[in-house]
């Protein structure tokens, strides 16, 4: 409402700038208008005199200039005499008044309604950041904490608060850094170490890197009973190709497991995968626990799409950088599972080229392929 009042006031003031001069009487202004150019020529005449007295121009030149300017002065005088008195006619004035009273507001407000966003509030950053927490989006809250941490980088508690939020927003690298800061400032804690390792793992597309691994190891050392770090360490063993050790690790984990725990299914799957058909000694990159867990919640098509993405990623990597025999086997198997026999054959052919000089590995791949019916 205040907005529209202000708009009305502005429009009114603008209209007044037209209406007020229209309403003034004529006589006030007509005096002295045309004498403007006469004044200029009079001034020029006096300038000629002063230059002459100064000796800048001689008498002859001064006289010539005087004549010339005098002629202009006379012309200007005649023009004034011959000019109409500038009277106003009612019709014209009324048209202009209508223009100011009606045309101006209609045109201005109409155009504004087309172009503007009436009612949209201002959103200064400070106001958004200082609004009560319950009214704020997660994004704003994060920005607030970030600003706070920029000012107080030594606030370990702050870092520990924002770290899981980062992870849930998908900013795994930032999350890992935040955990690292919290740990540096407030000392080691099992859950933070574990979560940092998890964040690092996610940031590396499910690969448990050396950093992540050392975090999980520290966490496990702090609390031997904690499941999560050991879960990831078991994945790490599997990824490093230490199949036997990995199987042992999974078995230990599952032995004391509460059957209803969410992770048990994923662990069993990993275990089955390791026991089933992995040739020993080849590093593996599998999906992370989260990805697997996520895939279970997905609709069938989504899951298919996710698997296809992963397969495409693997194929791309193997094509570009090469990989172990186990990975090639995995790719071929994946294609067969997805029902893409042609692609599986192409992958086999590519593997044959890649392992041309290594008959042992090649025979492994070929065996696997023949088992799959290729």
């Amino acid at each position: 409402m205040l907005f529209w009042i202000l708009i009305a006031v502005l429009t009114g003031v603008a209209a007044l700038s037209i209406l007020v001069p229209l309403s003034r009487s004529d006589r006030a202004r007509t005096a002295g208008t045309v004498s403007a150019d006469e004044a200029v020529y009079r001034e020029q005449l006096s300038a000629i005199e002063s230059e002459f007295e100064r000796g800048l121009i001689d008498a002859e030149a001064a006289e010539a200039a005087r004549t010339e300017t005098g002629r202009r002065l006379l012309a200007a005088h005649d023009r004034r005499a011959g000019q109409a008195d500038g009277a106003s006619r009612g019709g014209r004035i009324r048209t202009a008044q209508v223009l100011a009273l009606l045309g101006l507001p209609v045109a201005a407000v109409g155009l504004y309604l087309v172009l503007g966003a009436p009612g949209q509030p201002d959103l200064p950053l400070a106001q958004r950041l200082n609004a009560p927490a319950e009214q704020q989006s997660l994004e704003v809250l994060v920005a607030r904490v970030e600003r706070h941490l920029e000012q107080n980088p030594q606030d370990g508690q702050g870092w520990s608060v924002i770290a899981p939020v980062y992870l849930s927003l998908g900013r795994a690298q930032a999350s890992a850094k935040a955990y690292a800061n919290a740990l540096r400032l407030l000392g080691p804690r099992q859950d933070w170490l574990t979560d940092m390792g998890e964040a690092l793992t996610i940031a590396n597309q499910g690969l448990v890197t050396a950093d992540a691994r050392s975090a999980f190891e520290k966490a496990a050392a702090l609390d031997a009973s904690a499941v999560k770090p050991r879960f990831f360490l078991a994945i790490a063993l599997g990824q490093e190709g230490k199949t036997a050790e990995a199987i042992a690790a999974w078995e230990t984990l599952l032995e004391n497991a509460d059957e209803t725990a969410a992770w048990v299914g994923a662990a069993r799957q990993q275990l089955a995968g390791l026991r089933g058909n992995q040739p020993a000694g080849a590093p593996q990159r599998g999906p992370t626990q989260e990805e697997v867990a996520a895939s279970q919640d997905m609709a069938a098509e989504d899951r298919q799409a996710m698997i296809k993405d992963m397969v495409a990623g693997l194929a791309g990597r193997l094509g570009a950088e090469g990989g172990s025999a186990a990975e090639w086997t995995q790719l071929i198997r994946a294609y067969m599972v997805l029902g893409e026999r042609e692609k599986a054959e192409t992958a086999l052919a590519e593997a044959e080229v890649a392992y041309e000089g290594k008959p042992e590995d090649l025979s492994l791949i070929k065996d696997a392929a023949s088992q799959l019916g290729l």
Partner: protein, 662 residues
């Protein structure tokens, strides 16, 4: 709400400029005083409304209101306050808003201080200014609205182009725009005069302060831009003949010509057609510059936006205003009466010569700027017209002009005596020749042109002094009377002399800094010392540093002469984090009028960095000269005689005349 109010005031201003462009014109054509009287208050109101819109946008920038698209695209909450403010005009939309603000500002100035003008001339001038304003506000609203909102505001903006994050941006565009856009008012005066058929000596006098005002600011703006490029771009150059620089230089050349031809028109009522044409051309060149910069035809730091729709719109405005004004000119110019006659050797002749060379120089710059663009558009061929072209065309045109400068003011009107004029300049000539010989003695014969250039500069400076001295006649009337006469000289005479002196100062700076510059490019390790022009420059090492929105590698250099530390410089290379864009900050040590210029290049892995070191003798004179020129313009503008209009009481005027004549 505030943002939306700003948007509304801009829309309201647009509608009001439509009133401003029609009602007073109607009044003038039908000789209706009341309708004409609408012009001044409406122009002031339009200015206030655009000012509110501009302030609103500034508030949005300061408060980092990211619900405004323009703020998102060009600001960042971590930016220092000054750059939040200057960032308002550091982008396409905001700078066009500033453009419009200055356009309506000049209209408001004429509305407020144009009381000495005839009512009809003032009304029509303001109406024409209203057309231009309406065109550009429409351009803003239709293609580049600075008040466009977004519904899901992000929390951080994209930051301002780092090169523009400099105190230079706070000063350069406003100055330049006041100059650039200021010529719109002379354009409006010219069109109004053509419409009303009142092109006479009085018109030239009325236009003069407005031309001077625009010219002063344009001079300062160009100088400021040049100094900014010099210390920010890190190449050590101060003028690059970059098309965007040329875009501001062409109106300056045309505007300078206009200033001089308007004097002839004012004094003798001659050169009327030419003066009006120049007034049209000067603003047309400003418009052309805006088109070149804004359409994306040119890519440079100034090309904020490359949007074909905007280019087409500005091209349309360009065609309308230039084409329209030239058609009007063609139609009305034939009705003009022949003005005063004059001999070739006379003050008028000198000013014609000045105009000839200035417009030829302007044409040379025009060709050099546009030819590559036309060739690219027509033949798809990319060529670059660089400094060599301009040095070969612009340079030779300037030499005769500079030789002629001191003669102009000492020649008399109508019929001059070249011999007598030369006699008045004997002392200046002697001084210039002495400087040539001195420079030869100092630098030897290896550089033939440079001492002559120094001589030319001294000739212009000494000529300006000589003009004042001869006017005052110190030698014949004695010091006491002479001093009185000095004080009594009209300010416009002082303005001429000071501006010409400034021109000489700038030329001196250009000649010495170009001819006698010394340059070294070295890879320096910490502890290394380079000797240049008697300075020992020691590199002490480089260290990283964090700024509010950038990180930088700062080098530390110690400058010594004869082992004594005289200065320490910290040039740096910055990377602005939001845009991941590097910039260079030069380290500059000023000694007298000369400068030692240090710029860091790539760092080598082992702590070594590439360093460019220049010694630029008298380089600051380039910019000091420009400031002096602008001061001369300001003096001339302050001339008492320009402010007459409302007739003064006779007694007071006589007293003033008597005082002046003393």
């Amino acid at each position: 709400m505030i943002v939306e109010l700003g948007h509304f005031t801009l829309v309201l201003a647009f509608v009001l400029t439509l009133v401003q462009s029609t009602v007073p014109l109607w009044g003038a054509l039908s000789r209706d005083d009341r309708l004409m009287a609408v012009a001044p208050p409406v122009s002031v109101m339009t200015f206030l409304l655009v000012l509110v819109a501009f302030l609103v946008l500034t508030v949005a920038y300061i408060s980092s209101d990211f619900s405004v698209l323009n703020v998102i695209e060009n600001s960042h909450s971590a930016k220092p306050l000054i750059y939040k403010i200057s960032g308002v005009w550091g982008n396409h939309e905001g700078s066009m808003l500033l453009w419009v603000l200055i356009l309506v500002f000049f209209a408001a100035l004429v509305g407020l201080f144009g009381g000495n003008l005839p009512t009809d001339l003032r009304a029509v001038t303001l109406a024409v200014q209203g057309w231009v304003s309406a065109g550009f506000i429409l351009f803003l609203l239709a293609t580049s609205n600075p008040f466009t909102r977004v519904t899901n505001p992000p929390l951080e903006g994209a930051d301002l182009n780092p090169i523009l994050q400099d105190i230079g941006l706070a000063i350069h565009p406003p100055l330049l725009y006041i100059g650039y856009v200021g010529f719109s008012i002379t354009f409006s005066f010219a069109i109004a005069a053509l419409i009303l058929g009142r092109l006479d000596a009085a018109w030239a006098r009325w236009v003069r302060p407005w031309t001077l005002l625009a010219w002063c600011f344009l001079t300062l703006g160009i100088a400021m831009g040049s100094y900014w490029a010099y210390y920010e771009l890190g190449w050590g150059g101060w003028w690059f003949w970059d098309p965007v620089e040329n875009a501001s230089f062409m109106p300056w050349l045309a505007g300078t010509a206009l200033l001089h031809s308007a004097i002839v028109m004012e004094k003798r009522e001659a050169l009327k057609v030419w003066t009006v044409l120049l007034a049209i051309f000067t603003f047309s060149l400003s418009l052309l510059g805006t088109f070149l910069v804004r359409s994306g035809v040119l890519t440079s730091v100034h090309a904020f936006a490359t949007d074909p729709a905007r280019g087409v719109f500005i091209l349309g405005l360009l065609c309308f205003f230039i084409g329209g004004s030239l058609s009007l000119f063609a139609w009305r110019a034939s009705m003009l009466k022949q003005g005063g006659l004059f001999a070739p050797i006379s003050r008028e002749g000198g000013l014609v010569l000045n105009n000839l060379f200035l417009t030829a120089a302007c044409a040379a710059v025009f060709v050099g700027t546009l030819y590559p663009l036309v060739l690219d558009a027509v033949a798809g061929e990319k060529i670059s017209v660089g400094a060599p072209f301009f040095n070969l065309t612009f340079g030779p045109l300037m030499v005769p002009l500079l030789i002629a400068v001191p003669f102009g003011p000492v020649l008399s009107w109508k019929r001059g005596d070249l011999l007598a004029a030369t006699q008045r300049l004997y002392a200046a000539l002697a001084l210039a020749l002495a400087m040539v010989l001195f420079t030869f003695w100092l630098w030897g014969m290896e550089k033939i042109l440079a001492p002559l250039g120094v001589g030319l500069a001294v000739w212009v400076m000494a000529g300006a002094v000589a003009e004042i001295v001869t006017r005052v006649k110190f030698l014949s009337v004695g010091p006491k009377r002479g001093f009185d006469r000095l004080v009594g000289l009209p300010r416009s005479a002082w303005g001429t002399a000071v501006a010409h002196f400034g021109l000489g100062v700038t030329v001196l700076g250009i000649v010495t800094a170009s001819a006698f510059q010394e340059e070294r490019i070295e890879t320096m390790r910490p502890g290394d010392t380079v000797n240049l022009s008697g300075y020992e420059v020691t590199f002490d090492g480089a260290a990283p540093r964090r700024g509010p929105n950038y990180t930088e590698e700062v080098g530390h250099f110690t400058i010594r002469t004869g082992g004594v530390v005289i200065s320490e410089l910290d040039p740096s290379k910055r990377v602005y984090t939001a845009r991941q864009m590097p910039t260079t900050e030069a380290g500059i040590y000023t000694t007298g009028f000369s400068q030692l210029y240090l710029s860091m290049g790539e760092s080598r892995g082992d702590g070594a960095v590439d360093v460019r070191i220049y010694f630029k003798p008298l380089i600051t004179l380039i910019w000091i000269g420009c400031v002096v020129m602008a001061f001369g313009g300001a003096l001339s503008m302050a001339d008492r005689r320009l402010r007459i209009g409302a007739p003064k009481p006779a007694a007071r005027r006589k007293a003033a005349v008597a005082a002046a004549a003393e």
